[in-house]
């Protein structure tokens, strides 16, 4: 399989994960951890398929999944913001519950052939020598993932709203004293993040793993998405990069399997996740090292620069429940 095809399939198979990771990035940058991704993706995948199957309207289906994701996220947000519950606790319970709920409600739709997102090459761009086949010979979902990446970056660092978003995650009390309605923002961004997670679910059941079934095929993605957000240091571009890296690992797994039949396929199956964890460890060590590096980047060796690049600091108030009656 030549490199263009390889890259193209990396790009496309990363798209749904991009939705999940960047959605979660929004949520976590606002200071909320929504751990329920794995369940949410399945539930919204189910909803998306059911809607598409009954209405044959993909737009509607994606919308429905998005709303499902937002609905689940709202449980986490409301629970932690207005009732001071542990975000991790709710998130984890929801992960399991939503999964079973999806299997329970979707049972009747198992393995039915349903509508799918159409392939759609972009007329002129697709003919560009190498770029074309890699980036512009996919479908709307993949293109949407590009849009999301660029949008998130611009939104985070170039707009006032993005600044406020980061402020909420950094120090909610201070944000409040600056006249920002922190809870409202955190709620909003949790829902917004959940919405994208929902879309990721839909893009599985309507494109990448068409149809519904038990198992659907998107199981486990949610957890990986959560890890990638850390890996990407809560920065939209780095997160996107991490997502592509993971998609690459997955694909390589399958390629190697066919070229090294003596190694059991299971090894390749489980490889990507531990590798992500390994990367987290490396990042940890690197961030310890970089603490001692001198601040002027021009004095750094390439490795040191890489370490500095990998170094991450989470939003200061991530996952903490600011729960004063004053708010």
């Amino acid at each position: 399989m030549d490199t263009t095809i390889l890259l193209a399939s990396v790009i496309s198979s990363a798209a749904p994960i991009i939705f999940a990771t960047l959605g979660e990035t929004f949520t976590e940058r606002a200071g909320i951890v929504n751990l329920s991704l794995d369940g949410t993706i399945l539930l919204s995948a189910m909803v998306g398929f059911v809607v598409a199957y009954n209405t044959h309207n993909l737009i509607l289906a994606f919308l429905a999944s998005g709303l499902t994701g937002a609905a689940v996220a709202s449980i986490v947000a409301i629970g932690s913001l207005f009732y001071g519950l542990s975000q991790v606790a709710i998130g984890f319970v929801l992960t399991l519950t939503c999964r079973d709920l999806a299997y329970f409600l979707g049972n009747a739709y198992t393995r039915l052939p349903g509508p799918q997102v159409k392939h759609l090459a972009i007329p002129l761009l697709k003919d560009l020598p190498f770029i074309g086949p890699v980036f512009f010979n996919h479908n709307l979902v993949v293109y949407l993932s590009y849009v999301l990446i660029i949008f998130s970056w611009y939104y985070f660092y170039k707009t006032k709203a993005g600044l406020i978003l980061r402020a909420c995650g950094e120090n909610p009390v201070a944000a409040y004293s600056r006249g920002i309605n922190v809870k409202l923002h955190q709620l909003a961004y949790t829902l917004w993040g959940g919405f994208w997670v929902g879309l990721s679910g839909a893009s599985y059941s309507l494109l990448f793993k068409p149809g519904w079934g038990r198992p659907q095929g998107a199981e486990g993605i949610g957890w990986i998405a959560l890890a990638i957000v850390i890996f990407g240091g809560w920065d939209p571009l780095k997160v996107a990069l991490g997502t592509y890296f993971f998609a690459f690992l997955q694909l390589v797994g399958i390629l190697l399997q066919s070229s090294y039949p003596q190694i059991p396929s299971q090894v390749f199956q489980v490889a990507p996740f531990p590798l992500m964890i390994l990367m987290l460890v490396i990042m940890h060590i690197s961030s310890q090292k970089t603490a001692k590096l001198d601040p002027q980047p021009q004095h750094l060796s390439p490795i040191q620069r890489l370490l500095r690049f990998l170094k991450t600091t989470p939003p200061a108030a991530l996952g903490s429940n600011v729960h004063t009656k004053e708010f």
Binding site: R111, S258, P264
Partner: protein
């Protein structure tokens, strides 16, 4: 005032509506139930696999079914082997049929346990034959489930079919035919556990294979093939197990070898009803007069909706010659992958020899058993 119906039960490995192996069993049972005008009652539990029903064992489920009044229980998956044997010992007054098993051949089975299987080898030969005829690149892929005697047997049959079409019908160079097998690890996708059939199939098509013969219970092959066709690529797929699974495929589907469990089930139900049960290991051949006969033929092959006349006729007389034994594909000389002899020159394989296929055949790529 009729006496209360005779209850038989199914243990389905997948969802009853999986458009594959499990649904084939389910519909056979349903059909019998309906035709019996209330004399027969079918109950079933689906998704009987540890991944879907964590912590539940086959004997436990059999207890449930017996509580529900089941007198005859069909266990429809290879990996219920041990469980069903255990259950049969626990319930000597209930009859059991283990599909695709060989406990009887092995002499491990108690009296009340029989084995049933259809001679899908012919179905796979036809599938292989079709693939051999249509492939442009000469690269045929076989999407294999887990590795055991049965799956090796079927993969081998498909290969022989393809090779026949390639060499004897198209008269092409056997060296130019590439037939590789990729095992995903189970009968259907279990994320994080099995290889992902969607990805595997995509990978096949991306690396130049243009026909994928599915050996797994679910329809990924067809779905992916359709996606590639929509992108304007010339690819085909051949699903498995279930009569109707070709319909969703449209023109990428060359046809489907499927099981029709009605005759087999009927045989054992009557055996119990007429008290003529004796333990048997039943490997039912197709009903050659009409392999798609709903009541007589345990296996069949339905040609894809858009396959052209020429190929249809070719297949027709291939089947004709198979039934008249003019073509004997399991005929020596045949060698295993490691070069050891499977059939000496001129030797025609016995059922038992075919049943216990120890390796893939020479000329096929892919592992013969997990390392």
């Amino acid at each position: 005032a009729q006496e209360k119906p005779f209850t038989f039960a199914l243990l389905l490995v997948g969802p009853y509506n999986d458009h594959g192996w499990s649904q084939a069993h389910y519909e056979a049972g349903k059909a019998l139930e309906q035709e019996s005008h209330g004399k027969l009652k079918m109950i079933y539990i689906d998704k009987v696999n540890p991944a879907d029903r964590p912590g539940i064992t086959v004997p436990q489920l059999v207890d449930e079914l017996v509580d529900q009044g089941a007198k005859l229980i069909f266990a429809t998956s290879d990996d219920m082997k041990d469980g069903i044997r255990e259950a049969a010992l626990q319930h000597p007054d209930v009859y059991f049929v283990h599909i695709s098993g060989d406990d009887v051949l092995q002499g491990k089975a108690p009296k009340n346990l029989s084995n049933l299987m259809g001679k899908m080898i012919y179905g796979k030969m036809m599938a292989g034959f079709m693939a051999g005829l249509v492939t442009k690149t000469g690269k045929i892929a076989y999407l294999g489930p887990l590795i055991n005697d049965e799956t090796r047997r079927l993969a081998n049959s498909a290969y022989l079919g393809a090779r026949y079409a390639w060499t004897k019908v198209l008269h092409k160079d056997p060296k130019k035919l590439k037939f590789s097998v990729n095992w995903i690890g189970f009968w259907f996708n279990i994320p994080g556990v099995t290889a992902d059939p969607t990805q595997v199939t995509k990978n096949f098509f991306n690396s130049g294979y243009d026909v994928v013969i599915s050996g797994i219970d679910t329809t990924e092959a067809i779905v992916v093939a359709k996606q590639f066709r929509n992108q304007g690529k010339q690819v085909w797929a051949i699903p498995y197990d279930y009569k109707k699974s070709c319909q969703e495929g449209g023109d990428v589907c060359l046809g489907v070898p499927y099981f029709n469990w009605k005759p087999g089930y009927k045989h054992f139900i009557n055996a119990v009803l007429n008290k003529t049960w004796q333990q048997e290991w039943l490997w039912m051949p197709p009903y050659w007069q009409d392999i798609n006969n709903k009541d007589r033929s345990p296996i069949g092959f339905i040609v894809g909706p858009t396959v052209n006349k020429k190929i249809k006729t070719a297949l027709a007389n291939f089947i004709e010659q198979l039934s008249s034994k003019q073509i004997q594909l399991f005929k020596g000389p045949l060698y295993y992958q490691d070069g050891s002899v499977f059939l000496r020159a001129g030797e025609i394989a016995s059922d038992k020899k075919i049943w216990y296929s120890k390796q893939l055949l020479k000329g096929m790529q892919g592992p013969s058993s997990a390392k």
